[in-house]
């Protein structure tokens, strides 16, 4: 029985335990401890992966059309699995106390979280195309179940997601069939040789099908519409899990297929005439445009959860960009960003969830001034937004810096400019987020609000602290990234604890953060010792041009936070973006209506199975196998 078997069994056991005990009080604690145990199993796998750079195989196998399908986890899957289990750990820790107690369906949430973790682990241990597809389907349905658990708007968004996901899965299946037909095997290595020999038109088809199919999960343009409403309507802890890692499964699958099965050399050879672009460039541009569009949609949101999830879609673009550059620096940056993003996004979502827990709203126009009431949530959000905006000293800066450098080395100035502009848009929107929730005037109805309980604040703050520590010492994360890079077959990036040393400009975060802290200490001396005494006043003792402020008069600026910008870029939203969205939604509605009758029959799984069987039959006939 290998470590991977233990991992699978552990994840299943958590799901089972939660199905039995999920409704009881200690369920959250049990789940948290179980995920910690899974994390320990993953930690035990690290030396094995580091020694041999080989995959750890599972003993579960089965035969299909003459081929043995099994599961084994390599460094790449291990890296993603680490984030998955850690995200589940923090999500269940967050729900182990008061937050979980007030949920009416906590048992279901626990079970679904465990099922999701299991499904993702299966996906992350796939070692051939069929295993990848099986894992992919498992993940799709598990996250669909998670999103749809509350009904209402979330269920409608989840319904849209499952339409996309099914279409995507069919695209992936078609691509797998094509590869299989030529490779006569599901194995990645065989597939790679077969793909290299394909005619260029077929290569294009395979690349397009795979990118579209897996891109759905990542929210890659133009499949970005489902994710924000679906993730944001999911209850807090589950939403943190979904945001932190779920969408990254698409990235994992894209890394596996584009980098390992197809290979960057094939992608760069697929050139389009007259526009000097090849297949890799097109996907990179797609990622960059996704990044910009999603970020600037996030900027216009007035709901904290929607704002963050739109950013999640945008940040996915950074990762894909870095990975597709396929240089040691680029892949390291992209993969590191997966982890960094998971950490700060979970912190941010949990912080918003605790605000919602206390105030009952995440509407940015109905909050304000909560810093005096919920200082710990504020600190978490502050650390999270500095990470999300990619400013020093948080970890988001390091990974973004590496992606910028790799784009520069890859001579992609325009993509780099788009990445920069995205960062600027992010800064604007995260300030709006923290300002409208925590800064400004405290509303009268929030006077009695207290800080969230420790069961919620401790995991949040811990995430914030990890965000800072891995920012000051990026070498810690880069060590983990090494395992993943070795598995993809990209040369390892030489790094040290503080960052990387390059001939073309280095980064040593130990110095950057150390200097910042020292200088802030000096600033504190200047402020507290050299300046005279100061006195804190209440919020109504404030300049208002001689007006007498009182509690019944709201003196706060939050609605439409960037009016000047809205005047310039607002028409763009009302124009093509919104029209494109509307027409896509209408299209999916039409498809949805066509399907709805059969869905109402309640035999959905049967349809999926029928589709699977049909696909497999097609494989069989196309491949001409017995």
């Amino acid at each position: 029985m290998s470590l991977l078997d233990i991992l699978f069994l552990g994840a299943l056991a958590v799901a089972l335990a939660m199905a039995l005990l999920g409704g009881t009080r200690p369920a959250g604690v049990i789940a948290t401890l179980s995920y910690a145990a899974l994390l320990a199993v993953l930690a035990l796998m690290e030396p094995l992966l580091a020694q041999s750079n080989a995959a750890i195989a599972s003993s579960v196998k089965f035969q299909i059309i003459g081929e043995e399908i099994g599961w084994s986890m390599n460094g790449l899957g291990w890296f993603f699995a680490l984030i998955t289990v850690a995200a589940a750990l923090f999500a269940s820790w967050f729900s182990s106390g008061q937050w979980g107690a007030v949920q009416y369906d906590m048992r279901r949430q626990h079970v679904l979280l465990a099922v999701n973790v299991f499904a993702m682990l299966v996906l992350l241990s796939s070692q051939d195309l069929l295993g990848l597809f099986i894992g992919w389907e498992l993940v799709s349905w598990a996250s669909f179940a998670m999103m749809t658990q509350r009904g209402g708007a979330a269920a409608r968004a989840a319904y849209r997601y499952i339409l996309y996901a099914l279409a995507g899965a069919m695209a992936v299946l078609a691509a797998i069939v094509i590869i299989r037909a030529h490779a006569a095997s599901f194995n990645f290595a065989d597939a790679r040789m077969a793909v290299a020999a394909l005619p260029s038109a077929t290569k294009w088809t395979v690349v397009a099908l795979l990118t579209a199919g897996f891109g759905v999960k990542m929210g890659l343009l133009p499949f970005h519409l489902w994710q924000a409403p679906a993730y944001s309507e999911t209850p807090g802890a589950s939403s943190a899990f979904l945001n932190a890692i779920s969408a990254r499964m698409g990235l994992y699958a894209l890394i596996v297929t584009l980098l390992q099965v197809i290979g960057t050399d094939v992608l760069t050879n697929l050139s389009v005439q007259f526009i000097w672009l090849d297949a890799r460039d097109i996907i990179m541009w797609l990622a960059a445009v996704t990044m910009v569009v999603a970020t600037f949609i996030a900027l216009m949101q007035t709901d904290a959860r929607l704002l963050l999830t739109w950013h999640g879609i945008g940040q996915g673009g950074y990762m894909l960009l870095g990975v597709l550059i396929a240089s040691p620096l680029g892949t390291a940056g992209g993969l590191m960003h997966v982890m960094n993003y998971g950490i700060y996004q979970a912190a941010l979502i949990l912080s918003v969830a605790s605000v919602m827990h206390r105030t009952g709203t995440s509407d940015l126009d109905r909050l304000g001034g909560l810093i005096t009431r919920m200082p710990l949530s504020y600190v978490t959000m502050l650390m999270g937004i500095i990470g999300l905006a990619g400013l020093p000293p948080m970890n988001g800066f390091v990974s973004k810096w590496m992606i910028y450098k790799s784009l520069l080395e890859g001579r992609e100035p325009l993509l780099l400019a788009l990445a920069f502009v995205t960062t600027l848009g992010t800064i604007l929107s995260v300030y709006k987020l923290i300002h409208n929730i925590f800064l400004g005037q405290l509303r009268q109805e929030h006077w009695e609000i207290r800080e969230a309980p420790l069961s919620m604040t401790v995991p949040m703050l811990l995430l914030g602290a990890i965000c800072f520590v891995t920012g000051a010492m990026p070498g810690l994360t880069l060590q983990l990234v090494d395992r993943a890079q070795a598995a993809i077959g990209v040369p390892l990036l030489a790094h040290h604890l503080g960052g990387v040393t390059l001939a073309t400009g280095s980064l040593n975060m130990l110095w950057v953060v150390g200097t910042m802290l020292a200088m802030m200490g000096m600033g504190a001396v200047i402020f507290y010792l050299l300046g005279g005494r100061h006195r804190a006043v209440h919020q109504y003792d404030n300049y208002a041009g001689g007006h007498f402020l009182s509690a019944d008069l709201r003196y706060h600026f939050s609605h439409e936070f960037y009016p000047g910008l809205a005047r310039v870029i607002g028409p763009w939203y009302r124009g093509w973006i919104v029209r494109a969205e509307a027409s896509l939604i209408r299209l999916s509605d039409i498809i949805g209506h066509a399907w709805r009758g059969s869905f109402d029959a309640g035999i959905t799984p049967l349809y999926v199975m029928a589709a699977l069987v049909a696909g497999l039959l097609w494989v069989r006939s196309a491949g001409g196998l017995p």
Partner: protein
Amino acid sequence: MSENAGSRNPLQLRDQPETCRTADAEERSAWQRVIGRFADNCRARSLFVLHYCTGCGAIELPPTITSRFDMERVGVSPMVTPRQADILLITGYVALKTLKRVILSYEQMQAPKYVIGFGSCTINGGMYWNSYATIKQLDQYIPTDLFIAGCMPRPEAVQEVFLELMRMIDAGKANAWRDYYRNYDHYLANQQALFGPQWHTPTDIVAEAKHYGLMGPGTTGPHTRLLDQHAEWALDRIPEDYPERGENERSER
């Protein structure tokens, strides 16, 4: 009204400034006296003015600031909000409604702060002396360092008063602001006489005086006790556990 409120001679502060000034704890050691001297020196050379332009006097200020007389030569420059300003320059008659805003703005300024009454209106009501809606003597309501007599005073007079104020600050004699803390009850009494017992501003002057060690014999009294019944910051409209208030209490100990 003005008699029993104990009106002061506008020039009294100028003639006998020491009477309302006792040595601060921080000025005891020689080193701290040197620092204090240096600070006074810099204060005198950097004056940010909040122009409270109530009446016609505003017209005299542009030539004072711009190229004709250029007050920036001596470090006087206009500022926008009371928080940033050192001088409150009230140019003209003060109606009752205006007075409320003047007091609010004055209390929002940070000490050391100086008030200059500009024109006859601020001294004795000027041509509005028999109006029902204007006050006659500004220094009954807020402590005034200097007045500029005339209707209206020329920019030269404005300059002269700035220079005089600078001399006073340099000598450590422009201390009317301390009087407001030390005799707050007196000023509040006059304000309440006009605006009624419910009168209060958002600023808690008594707490400030306590916090900065500026308490005097007349800081609290029968009139400040009325504040506790009416002021928002004293009522439960701002709850007790409001963190800022907690911090005040800590620093008192």
